[in-house]
Amino acid sequence: MADLVRVKTMMPPGHVRTPAYLRGKTGVVERVLGPFGNPEKLAYMLEADKQPLYRVRFTMREIWGEAAENPEDTLDAEIYAHWLERV
């Protein structure tokens, strides 16, 4: 996985742990965690694939654009690998 990643813009229904406000946003991998069971399966007691989990750091500018309170501040979130694509 490249250091620079983008969160996929898909909008599947169900128990999804990828916040909508980060979809389509690009950030830098802060650290790699996991693997962890895919919560989108675990929530329904389905056999869950294991996914690496990435802590991705976004700038507030990237997330909120001109509306950012302080563009250089950052937001870190944990995103599962199947939600990320290389940039």
Partner: protein, 214 residues
């Protein structure tokens, strides 16, 4: 239905608080489901009421003092601080805290960086170390504003962050939980670990506050 009963809603208790409504509203679907599953598990012998009560006691016994002890150790022991930042779960266990399977990450405040913890999706919180989260942590207002306008939120908590301090917000979206390692306050050089721990507030470990100053 006649409304001839005395209505408390407009009145205050002798101590000045509004009366709280009795919780005799109908059960929600999930409340009914919880009771049904619990009773079935007891009937079938998988768990006893005593075990459930003990588990509730164990969770209620966890409180911010546990985290404060961890923070104070990190302030006084540089090697422990390094271990805490590498793996906060193991460092907490090393101090004797039973945090179960919780995966904890400690994020450190410095002169240039301030950290703030939120869970925008629900109410993820390092309960197994700090106990239950404050009610405001679970509100939609905090959960949304902490990522949209975190500096405004911090000002409401009495913390006016300087422009040259970088704010890092951490959204607990998945398997990890977070604790802020606040910066050790000035003027605490001679203090021992126990005295230092008394300075560490719950909010300073969420990032909505700073430790007390002696």
């Amino acid at each position: 239905m006649p409304h001839d009963h005395h209505d408390h809603h407009d009145h205050l208790s002798p101590s000045g608080h509004p009366f709280r409504d009795d919780n005799d509203t109908p059960l929600s679907y999930w409340q009914r489901m919880e009771i049904a599953v619990r009773e079935l598990m007891i009937e079938k012998g998988h768990v006893s009421p005593e075990e459930i009560a003990l588990q509730i006691d164990a969770m209620d016994a966890r409180n911010p003092a546990n985290g404060a002890a961890v923070v104070a150790r990190a302030w006084t022991d540089a090697e422990f601080r390094t271990r805490l930042l590498e793996d906060a779960s193991e460092a907490s266990r090393e101090m004797g805290f039973d945090i179960g399977p919780m995966r904890l990450i400690a994020v450190e405040n410095t002169a240039d960086v301030h950290n703030l913890i939120v869970c925008t999706l629900c109410s993820c919180y390092p309960r197994n170390l700090l106990g239950l989260p404050p009610d405001w942590y679970k509100t939609r207002a905090y959960r949304s504003r902490a990522v949209i306008e975190p500096r405004a939120v911090l000002r409401e908590f009495g913390l006016d962050l300087a422009d040259d301090v970088q704010l890092r917000v951490h959204d607990s979206t998945a398997d990890m939980r977070y604790i802020v390692l606040p910066a050790r306050p000035e003027g605490t050089d001679g203090m021992d670990e126990a005295a230092l721990a008394a300075l560490v507030t719950r909010d300073s470990m969420i990032g909505t506050g700073l430790p007390r100053v002696p």
